[in-house]
Symmetry: C2
Subunit: 238 residues, 2 copies
């Protein structure tokens, strides 16, 4: 091999983009990795990113395969800064965790931790579990909203502080593996018409910018556990 | 009360900034909350934020009071995308956690999970624990660097991908409660001469923008466990 080609190859090896050596699953071309130059640019250009910092500083990984809804709830409850329970691991400090979120008797009346660990949760159950805390909860089924309504309701929320959006969608509709999933939405990028999902299964996928239409299609899918469509939940302080 | 005053008070109550109802401890005026308008502006204006997105999407909370170093290591190892161990809770997926990071026999030779749980770690131990993985580790003591050198080494790193900065500092020196602490640094803001610390004790403090000089003073403090000063560690893929 010529020294020049060898040198070019070495330079190439020194600058492998982090996307190529990631542990997570590959993304289909319709999805844009947040952890990329383009993904960063979209955040900088976004004019509907009021929820991004509050959510990103609470970002956490779902503790098991059924806990996407639980991790998403913990993120928004911590981001809303409502009174939180103690967590024994941190002595006097108070913070929602994927364990102590079930300490509230009203939450347990909706579903116990054991049941959620076995079967996850439907859109309605997500809304009911959230409503067991002193916040305002608005459940929206995919079947009830046009693309235009869906886009506008999310944008309105993403421009306001102290309220948040959680989406319940079918991954396979937007090119991911595979089933129903729940995560918070953190921002909207107008030029590309994309929403930023902070995917709580961080072992599996990075956060992605997804086309509004793809996400709307993915929430307008039937959940066999409920017989209804998936959708989104808006939460705010009361 | 006049209807006008009553209306003003109501509007006031509807727009309580999230800082005022946060669960975390209050910040002294020398520190700027990342979760604020000014904190967001600094990120947008930063020209040394290459590490911000890779670290922020791996942000996690230390699992107990002694695990600041462990949580910081987990964040940078996941951000470096080096081969990770399996975690039983996520079946086939691989990702560093504050538990499986100790599965590596070379890591255990430095310190076991039990010992770190009891006594935390010094700067040198942080470097040695990191070096038990296939990455390049550069340990820097606070006593060895001028403010100018400290600022420049961090800025150089924060402008490059695939390498990261961890700081070991005394909280009380920069106005926080209270002892030695470890967290990753995610960005630098030139106009205000501040670094962004993604504080892993998320139950206690939000991420903060701290003056370069304050952080330099806080790493140039003696750790009674080692008899040496605290400092910072630079890590990169080999
Ligand atoms: Ca509704
Ligand atoms: Ca909002
Ligand atoms: Ca050195
Ligand atoms: Ca870097």
């Amino acid at each position: 091999m010529s020294p020049l080609i060898s040198r070019i190859l070495m330079i190439g090896l020194c600058f492998i983009p982090s996307e190529l050596i990631a542990q997570t699953l590959p993304l289909t071309p319709n999805l844009i990795n947040f952890n990329s130059s383009e993904g960063e640019t979209f955040l900088i250009e976004s004019t509907a990113r009021q929820d991004y910092i509050p959510l990103s500083i609470q970002f956490e990984t779902q503790e098991n395969g059924a806990f996407c809804g639980v991790a998403s709830m913990v993120m928004v409850l911590n981001a809303l800064s409502i009174p939180a329970p103690k967590a024994p691991e941190w002595r006097k400090y108070k913070r929602f965790t994927q364990t102590n979120i079930f300490d509230n008797p009203k939450t347990q009346e909706v579903m116990t931790k054991d049941i959620v660990s076995k079967q996850g949760m439907t859109l309605q159950q997500l809304g009911q579990l959230l409503a067991s805390y002193p916040i305002k909860v608005d459940i929206n089924y995919g079947s009830e909203v046009t693309l235009k309504e869906f886009r506008q309701r999310l944008i309105d929320n993403l421009k306001q502080p102290n309220n948040f959006v959680l989406v319940n969608y079918l991954r396979s509709t937007m090119g991911q593996e595979k089933g129903g999933h729940i995560s918070p939405v953190a921002a909207y990028h107008q030029q590309s018409d994309r929403f930023l999902i902070l995917d709580v299964s961080r072992y599996k996928y990075p956060p992605v910018w997804v086309k509004a239409e793809d996400l709307w299609q993915a929430i307008n899918t039937k959940d066999s556990a409920s017989g209804k469509t998936r959708g989104f939940v808006l939460v705010s302080v009361e």
